[in-house]
């Protein structure tokens, strides 16, 4: 972007390189929030190490008036606060861009580039002169670069001061020092450089109906609104903040006014095997229960997930994906768990899964997950990832339908049980493959034995081939039936397009941006994003309807493409993979590049429509 000469107001990307554990995080999100409050679409992505203190960490901010907020690797401005990473940070700046660095120590000759402008600001010495105490000085450096950016980008400083006021309302002393730090950076920039830079902010009104939110907070809020009462988990990045947020929200909304006691119970389990076990126990008793985990935890839950599937116990599992396999890169994103989720556990199994694209969907899908889990009496996965879960997203303000009543599924009440002749746990009474359920403690007639060993439609233990087959066949029908209940794919058909594109989850933003770029280039492509599994019937159709469909996903093995082949009846020869799995969020150029490359190879770079 840095290269074109058009007005660069509200269209640029900014990256800040610091050291983790030095308090830059709050400065960075303040920066993002300020942009947001100026009414300009913005996204912030945290690129952090799997470590607590002392290693390089980055924060990437993209400002885009058209609302393209996916990650972009071309940075117009680099705030290089970490000498350890000067080299690569400076290399990453787009030609024509700017490097803001701490000029307290002068820059190595060989780091200099003549196609970028270097703006040195002596942050360290400024803070040493103006503040006391090592810790404070380090913290204030972060606030100071915010001040400098305010000047260079024409950020509304009053807004920032206002925000500082809100933030430290309780601690006036802190307000002063922060205000001072802002001014240090702001004034220095004003005095020494021509402000603003061509890349800059201009007030808009494009964010008034939006909020800033992480997917994990949104998912947790969904659990609260869905009426979930039991959460069992084991800490793991990047899933941890779901339970942290759940506890926080419950602290606000789930205290008994009289007693101050909790209308929820969060158990930090000893591991993920126990966490999912607790969820099954709670669901079996009739509570809405969930767990949050990531790849390694998911693997550990495999055995129990098969039990839940076969014994038909509801459960909601949030899988916030990170880069695998194994421990992999815990602080990088990926979409590598698709197979693990939908086929979790040994033997014949198939699980319902929802694939949110952003925090907004995390909230709504989280609520649906509980409805689906209880309706179909089976585990339901909400499959997000580190990018959605932990990054700051600008999303439309969340709405709650007061008319919502939870779908508790076919649960027999005490009255029902009084009236029924006999209750048979696994019988397909209604012909929809969904049996009736009872809860412990309700009625003697409701009693049955839940087991993962062979059982017949009456819930009795069996080793009989027919009785066994009868039940597993019904379960297969039941799960297939869910394809009509999971969220429909998001589809945007291009008129008579020969090409289609299918994607999933967090790829959304980058893909839509890429499609615009390609269209501008005369390449029209229809778009579909799957949002639930088992795939609704339309999914296979979409692929049949196009000459060639690009499947865009963030894993090495093209797991979505494979799933589409075997589970959506799509024919493999009509699909081609566009994959990125290096751990960063997907960006439009990955998609554009992948698609154009394929088209060129295939020698069919079309003039557009068929």
């Amino acid at each position: 972007m840095a290269n074109d000469d058009i007005d660069r107001a509200n269209d640029f990307a900014l990256k800040i390189g610091t050291v983790n554990g030095t308090g830059s995080a709050s400065a960075n999100s303040m920066l993002m929030q300020a942009i947001f409050r100026m009414g300009v679409p913005v996204s912030g992505k945290n690129v952090f190490p799997s470590n607590i203190q002392g290693l390089p960490t980055w924060y990437e901010i993209r400002v885009n008036k058209d609302g393209h907020l996916a990650r972009t690797p071309d940075f117009d401005i680099m705030v290089a606060m970490n000498a350890q990473t000067y080299q690569r940070d400076i290399e990453e700046v787009a030609s024509g861009g700017y490097v803001i660095y701490d000029s307290t120590r002068s820059l190595d000759e060989d780091l200099l580039r003549d196609d970028v402008t270097f703006l040195g600001i002596p942050f360290a010495s400024l803070c040493v002169e103006n503040f006391k105490g090592a810790r404070v000085r380090i913290l204030m450096k972060n606030i100071a670069y915010v001040g400098a950016l305010a000047a260079l980008l024409e950020l509304d400083v009053d807004l920032i001061r206002e925000m500082l006021g809100e933030k430290f309302a309780a601690k006036p002393k802190l307000i002063d020092s922060n205000m001072k730090a802002i001014s240090l950076g702001y004034d220095y920039a004003r005095e020494n450089f021509e402000c603003p830079l061509p890349v800059r902010m201009a007030p808009m009104d494009a964010t008034s109906d939006s909020v800033i939110l992480t997917g994990n907070a949104a998912a947790a809020l969904g659990c609260v609104y869905a009426g979930a009462t039991v959460g069992a988990w084991y800490p793991i990045t990047p899933a941890t903040s779901i339970m942290d947020a759940f506890k926080e929200f419950c602290g606000r909304f789930r205290k008994d006014p009289e007693t101050g006691k909790n209308r929820f119970c969060v158990v930090q389990a000893e591991d993920e095997l126990a966490a999912i076990g607790m969820v099954l126990g709670a669901s079996w008793c009739g509570a809405r229960a969930f767990t949050n985990t990531s790849g390694p935890g998911l693997s550990l839950m495999s055995e129990f997930l098969g039990l839940a599937y076969y014994a038909e116990v509801p459960a909601v599992v949030f899988d916030v994906q990170r880069t695998g396999p194994s421990t992999g890169m815990p602080t990088r994103t990926q979409q590598g768990d698709l197979f693990t989720v939908v086929y979790a556990s040994h033997g014949d199994t198939k699980h319902i899964a929802l694939f949110p694209a952003d925090p907004e969907e995390c909230f709504y899908f989280s609520v649906s997950a509980f409805d689906l889990a209880e309706h179909f009496q089976t585990p339901v996965f909400v499959v997000s990832d580190l990018d959605i879960g932990m990054n700051d997203w600008m999303v439309p303000r969340l709405k709650w339908d007061e008319g919502y009543t939870p779908d508790r599924g076919k649960v027999l009440t005490e009255e029902d049980l009084e009236s029924v002749e006999e209750f048979h746990r696994y019988e397909d009474v209604d012909g929809d493959a969904i049996p009736y359920r009872t809860l412990p403690g309700v009625h003697p007639k409701g009693a049955y034995f839940t087991r993962g060993s062979g059982h017949d439609r009456y819930g009795r233990y069996t080793e009989d081939a027919e009785a066994y087959t009868d039940v597993v066949d019904r379960i297969a029908r039941k799960i297939d039936g869910a394809s009509a209940a999971v969220p429909e794919p998001e589809v945007r058909l291009a008129v008579d397009a020969r090409f289609g594109l299918v994607t999933i989850g967090a790829c959304r933003g980058a893909v839509l941006e890429a499609l615009e770029l390609l269209e501008a280039d005369g390449i029209e492509i229809s778009y579909m994003r799957v949002r639930g599994f088992p795939f609704p019937s339309g999914v296979g159709q979409f692929i049949d309807d196009h000459e060639l469909t690009f499947v865009v996903e963030q894993n090495r093995d093209g797991q979505l493409l494979k799933l589409l082949t075997v589970e959506a009846g799509a024919s493999k020869d009509k699909m081609t993979s566009v994959k990125y799995y290096g751990g960063f969020s997907l960006s439009a150029h990955h998609v554009v590049h992948g698609i154009t490359e394929t088209l060129e190879k295939a020698g069919r770079r079309p003039a557009g429509k068929a």
């Binding site: 609260v224 069992a232 076990g277 126990g281 008793c285 969340l398 048979h424 034995f449 993962g452």
Partner: protein, 351 residues
């Protein structure tokens, strides 16, 4: 219920409990265990205990892992829900169930393989959380259902049926439980219903995690010479440390009963457990002492039985979690969902 339950011919003679139920009403499906299996006697004792405590069958919840022992919940109280989980993971199911509905009477049945090998971690953490339940460990020193491999409770020098010798030291669930701060620790013998029933009743009444280690011989794989978990060996070396007597709330302790040298502990529901130490100055409320005693008797090859330790603090998982008294499953949706207005307010902070 859809079990082949034993024909419940109601003997007019059969004694009824406060609910007007006979012990027959606490029975379950026909056992499929080997004739003479210790586990069946434990099942009988459990049936008896529930009957005598007047627990409504459907208010009980029966949980287990996998193993011959873990099959037994199917053989008692057919009118209560049962959950036969996966191997070694019953404690987590129980913890979650209890979190959701704290008002049910939870009984978990496990085996020494299920509890001390694959399930050891979960057992220890259920103890640590003091989950309110009765945990019965049917201990036979072997993996019965998989045909007799040594379990972690097999003593050093034990001979397997195939003639292999166990060289590894045993994990004693009692010392382990005491070390981990368990509040109700008891051991008994499947062959001693006299002793077992009151202990089970006390365990069911205890608020918190009550673990009962029941030596329950496996007649098929571990009842031979050279086994320390056989009927013969257990009868010979079983040493009752404390006699336990469970006195339900309603029956007051009348002068008639002799109470010399007996300690009485009042349970949270008002009923009483009366101990009489058989062993010289054994104090079932002294954790450290109990640990030392167990260690000593293990060295001397004795199987100390009885209610070995009891601490009725009443603190259990829900006190730690500060959960509302009403079972979470009964809290109405309206009290759980904050509604649209709250959502509006909340989002003001996210701008």
């Amino acid at each position: 219920m859809t079990y082949i339950t034993k024909p419940a011919v109601r003997h007019p003679s059969l004694e009824e409990n406060a609910l007007g139920l006979t012990c027959r009403d606490y029975e379950g499906a026909m056992s499929t265990l080997c004739a003479g299996c210790g586990h069946d006697s434990v099942t009988a004792a459990i049936t008896q205990a529930f009957f005598e405590l007047d627990i409504p069958p459907h208010r009980a919840a029966k949980l287990s892992g996998i193993g011959c022992s873990s099959k037994t919940p199917a053989y008692f109280i057919s009118e209560s829900h049962g959950f036969n989980a996966v191997h070694g993971r019953m404690p987590s199911i129980a913890t979650g169930a209890n979190a959701a509905n704290r008002d049910l009477v939870y009984i978990g049945i496990s085996g020494d393989g299920d509890s001390l090998s694959i399930g050891l971690g979960q057992l220890c953490h259920a103890i640590r959380r003091n989950v309110n339940m009765l945990y019965v460990l049917e201990n036979n020193g072997v993996y019965g259902l998989t045909k007799g491999q040594f379990s972690a409770s097999a003593d050093v020098g034990t001979l397997s049926k195939r003639g292999e010798v166990n060289r590894l030291g045993p994990i004693d669930p009692m010392s382990l439980a005491l070390t981990l701060g368990a509040t109700f620790v008891a051991r008994s013998f499947s062959g001693d219903k006299q002793q077992l029933v009151p202990i089970l009743k006390a365990g069911l009444t205890h608020r918190g995690f009550a673990i009962v280690d029941v030596i329950s011989p496996c007649v098929t794989f571990n009842d031979h010479e050279g086994s320390t978990k056989s009927y013969a060996h257990t009868r010979m070396h079983n040493y009752e440390v404390v006699q336990t007597d469970f006195v339900p709330l309603m029956t007051e302790i009348t002068a008639g009963q002799d109470r010399e040298g007996a300690t009485a502990v009042t349970m949270h529901d008002g009923s009483t457990v009366v101990f009489r130490s058989v062993a010289e100055d054994y104090d079932p409320t002294d954790r450290e002492g109990a640990l030392g005693f167990l260690h000593a008797s293990q060295v001397s090859g004795e199987v100390a039985t009885g209610l070995l330790y009891l601490e009725e603090s009443g603190e259990e998982m829900h006190s730690f979690e500060n959960t509302v008294d009403r079972p979470l499953v009964e809290v109405p949706f309206g009290d759980l969902c904050p509604g649209s207005a709250a959502l509006e307010d909340l989002q003001k902070e996210w701008r």
